[in-house]
Amino acid sequence: VTTTAPSTPTRARPPQSGPKRRWSRDRAERAVLRVLRPLTIAALLAAVVLPFYYMLLLSLRPIESLLLRPGSLVVGLDELTWATYTEVLTSVGDGGQGFLRFMANSAAVATTSVLLALTIAIPGAYAISRLPFPGHRQVSGLFVAVYLFPAIILAIPLFVVLTRLQLRGQLVGLVLVYVSQTVPVAIYMMRNYFQTIPESVEEAGLVDGLGRVGVLARIVLPLALPSIMATGLFVFVIAWNEFLFALLFLVEQRDRWTVSLGLAQLSGSVEVPTTVLMAGSVVVSLPVIVLFFLTERLLTEGLASGAEKG
């Protein structure tokens, strides 16, 4: 590893005429920073990556070898095992933990949430960005409030409502909650992007006889596709990772558990070996991490653009 900081050709040398002491302090600071910068990056990388590495490591070792050599940082070839994964994935009836089922539940909930949230949020974002209606400022304010509002306070009345509607224990109830919580943020993320589309392009469409909905579907949607994908991913990750509402609504019915809930519930019991649960953790995290790396640029730009205008 090289410790030289990246050279910046634009950086001008300080004027030579400055006082002598300043000059040396400047030099000392530069020297320290040159070492500190790569050190900081390395330390942060280690802190971020190690827990994930540890997760993967433990998922590939049998529990006996973990207890025998808890400090080991590598998997020996003789101890490498996939049995943890088969156990965590196979159904309870076949002696496993049934994570495949949980994943199917989570995938269904997350995909439905994405589709519904986008269907609702795209027209909403378009209206906010292009069609000033009476009270649109109040509506924007309401959305910010929803974005900031704590889930735990919402949890109690929703718990009661869903119990009364007999929707508690149904995945539908969960989808409703996720959609209503993500739509305001989704609108916020897409609105900024919609505003960058030149209005003249849309007017051309209007002149050609398309209605507003036609303009939205034929002109705005294709142009805003990157932003829409980023927003969809954002909703997916939220729905996939969510824990509190899944816990409150579904805890009594094991066959309806989402992956997050399943892992949390099983990790509280002593009967399932840690290494098997680590395999479960990998299985829960993998879809999100893979999606994230595939679309990282889209997602970070979408998030950053949503926050830029604060």
């Binding site: 900081t40 990056i41 994930f52 704590p150 409703l176 604060g310």
Partner: protein, 323 residues
């Protein structure tokens, strides 16, 4: 686009056009409004009502909207001996986590400001703690910090000669021996704060890096030309320009941490001196099965949050910061 300019419609026609736009806008926003009002606004208003009702989990299905009105829930919440300690824990947890996550985020953003090979990849990896499922990362932390076979205690004993394993997540009070001094430390609370710093620094990092890269370079260049050292340039030129973003980040992180439930519940379950208000709400709801009291407690949480936020905003305004 020339049509609008040349064939200017009469004033009356124009107004109907604006009206039509407004009507389309309303129609397009209606689905959003409906779901937000139905699933968020109405339930919230209702939870205020529930806080004044004698409502148990068992009779949730039958109780009428205005039945059994009482102030009992609030009496119960305020009479609880745990209220103050819980609130205090929540405040320490919130301040500690917010400061730590923004501090690490700032350090990371500054370290990654200058381009180098692989920076995009490093930036992406830095975001991992924030995107990974909370259930998975809390589980890994719990195992890493496990006193029996966790990697931290194993290596701590091997490298630093710890005599006894440290129960990071189940020890309420530990002693830190530093230069012969024995300092009492709230072990579990500090561990949970460290976790928050780890999990949420990417959020601050992302926004601070974006802001840093959008800063015009001339000011810093001028400061350097005038003989300012790198630290002086940062302190007097760069940092002031970042302050608005930092202020917003602090507000956002504080709001979210103050109500955070998942992280503490999954790490410690609220034991060992980490019981925050949201965990208490959950216990009232599911363990004691007292819906009314849970609602009163959560209302209390919301009110304290609003008061703290207003105070913070006032502080910012009096210092002349723009939010």
């Amino acid at each position: 686009m020339a049509t609008t300019a040349t064939t200017r419609p009469p004033a009356g026609h124009r107004r109907t056009l604006t009206q039509r736009r407004a009507r389309t806008g309303l129609a397009l926003i209606t689905p959003t409004l409906l779901i937000v009002v139905a699933v968020i606004v109405l339930p919230l208003l209702w939870s205020v009502l529930i806080a004044f009702q004698r409502l148990r989990l068992i009779n949730v299905g039958r109780a009428g909207l205005f039945e059994n009105l009482t102030l009992e829930n609030f009496e119960r919440v305020f009479a609880s001996a745990e209220l103050l300690s819980t609130l205090w824990t929540t405040v320490i947890y919130t301040v500690g986590s917010t400061v730590l996550s923004i501090g690490i985020g700032l350090a990371a953003a500054l370290a990654l400001r200058q381009p180098f090979r692989g920076r995009t990849a490093v930036r992406a990896v830095m975001l991992l703690p924030y995107v990974a499922p909370v259930v998975a990362v809390t589980f890994v932390w719990r195992i890493m910090l496990n006193p029996e076979f966790g990697i931290v205690n194993t290596w701590g004993r091997r490298l630093f000669g710890w005599e006894d394993p440290i129960a990071f997540l189940s020890q309420a009070q530990g002693t830190l021996t530093l230069l012969g001094l024995e300092i009492p430390v709230p072990t579990a609370l500090l561990t949970v704060i460290a976790f928050e710093g780890w999990r949420y620094f990417p959020f601050a990092f992302l926004f601070l890096l974006a802001r840093l890269q959008a800063l015009p370079g001339e000011l810093e260049e001028a400061a350097r030309m005038d003989g300012a050292t790198p630290l002086q340039t940062f302190r007097f030129v760069t940092l002031p320009q970042l302050m608005p973003v930092i202020a917003v980040l602090a507000v956002l992180r504080a709001i979210w941490t103050f109500n955070e439930f998942d992280d503490i519940f999954l790490l410690t379950g609220g034991a060992a001196g980490t019981q925050v208000v949201s965990v208490r709400v959950y216990e009232l709801l599911t363990v004691q099965r007292n819906v009314g009291a849970a609602s009163a407690q959560s209302l209390f949480l919301a009110v304290v949050l609003v008061v703290l936020l207003l105070g913070y905003l006032r502080l910012l305004r009096s210092r002349g910061e723009q939010l």
